[in-house]
Symmetry: C2
Subunit: 324 residues, 2 copies
Amino acid sequence: MTPFDALIGTELELVEKALQQTLTGSDLEASVNALCLNMVNAGGKRIRPAMVLLCAKAAPYYDPERDQDRAVKLAAAVELLHTATLIHDDVIDNSSLRRGIPTINSTDGNHAAVLAGDYLFTRCFNLLKQLNSLEALGAISDTIATLVSGELMQLKKEGSLDLTREDYDYTIYCKTGALFELSAAAFAVLNQRPHAEIEPLKAYGRAAGCAFQIADDNLDYAADSKVLGKEAGTDLADGRITLPVLIALERSTGAEREDLVQAVAQDDFAAVKDAIERTGALEYCAHEALLQAQAAKDALAQLPDSPYKEALALLAENAVKRGH
Amino acid sequence: MTPFDALIGTELELVEKALQQTLTGSDLEASVNALCLNMVNAGGKRIRPAMVLLCAKAAPYYDPERDQDRAVKLAAAVELLHTATLIHDDVIDNSSLRRGIPTINSTDGNHAAVLAGDYLFTRCFNLLKQLNSLEALGAISDTIATLVSGELMQLKKEGSLDLTREDYDYTIYCKTGALFELSAAAFAVLNQRPHAEIEPLKAYGRAAGCAFQIADDNLDYAADSKVLGKEAGTDLADGRITLPVLIALERSTGAEREDLVQAVAQDDFAAVKDAIERTGALEYCAHEALLQAQAAKDALAQLPDSPYKEALALLAENAVKRGH
């Protein structure tokens, strides 16, 4: 299922079990559980849980007997949080396709999707409570706040061409980097490890997440809906100015620039895509993603050598190859 | 401002300060803070924070020096949670008026309202984190899950006339009773008091909350929009079958019953209101609310006599006099 099965296959299966179990409840909750499970099971690639587990097992103090269940719960909680934010994002963006299946808002309405997202937040907190760690709960709560900030930044700058590269970097940190940062550092936070150990893990997750998001933003101008598992061209349609457009604008002058500005304003996907191809923006962005992946790998230096560390490097490399 | 100013006026002012402070952040968050503050400041009556504070100060072990700040933080957290659920409820119900002002979904769209609600959840957790209590965090998280369950129950039974009295009681417990239950017990939970002390407090809050909700459901058929601070007749329009309708149905037979069923199906507010008046359903419901208020007062028996205990009895009595 993942290239890491030999290292964390057992734990990933336990994560699946934990996800199913946490979404099995009373009769009353049967309908919301079904909605959530449908989305949880729809083939997300479990990159975040894999990162939690690999970072846990890469730690020299990891003790399978004592720590497996705790790492699995953390990994499942992170996936629940991720899925909750996807469900709310789909309401916000009015999306109809996610992970290759219809979104909850499209099949059951915004009301059900808002509730399903809230419900997954509570399921996530419920799992974390079992770990008896205020630190882990605090880290998750802060991450949700950052995710919300990123969405707000995006809404505020919707369709605006005065978005700077700094704004873009901040937005992708909030919407993707922060949750990867949490995934990488969660086990160390849970174990109250010193700052000097936690920071490089956060840097690893953050950079890998940003690599991932840049690659994903590229894909929206490079792939068709079938490969993407969601509609292509949605960034433009939703007024999200991403790095390919920023670079294409930066590399256009005179009439070409004016035409591009016009095309963006009119959501003219074909014309924007042409400009992106003409200016070589996708290649530039692919290189930026690679730089982030490299930064992620560099941040692993502190970890003792192990197959888990190698897998984490591979995970960062893979991040740039394909979107969510 | 409240009839309890002499007892908890100082603490209620500190709650207001804590609410403002927790919604003052970075530039990025300025717009969401403004949206949330607008709703937080729009004249909610702070019944839940008042309950938190009165229950705290009614406790024989309450020490002002040590406990004031903790009780205030709990009270503010409960109000943030309440406001978050109101904002999401307005998205779910597509409401345009709340606390006498336009809802966030009506002025800024569903996307902003979903995010604003999520953001308030994180602000609530942030306040609670400062209390260093897994118990309090756990209680809040469970309460959110119950609130979501209640909304789901409501959605599931939307417009359905096979709603039983049991269903109704469960729904109002979830949507209102649970948060009052938390408000009453929060300080005792924070202080890890024994079960035998916490349970009667929960029973008090639960019954007061249900009294409050029954009175509120009555008001939707008895008041006009100006008194209500939101549109009258919305329960029927949104397909929520509440106690006045249940009772009117129970007390109607033959053609009258068929007419009422028809009127409910067609959202014919005037006809439903007529049936409710004809059957004396509002009087019955008012009596049910009084019974709940009495149950709440009975649950206070365990507390030592104090002005705070008297105020809690008054709070339960007041609950039936006016809605949210």
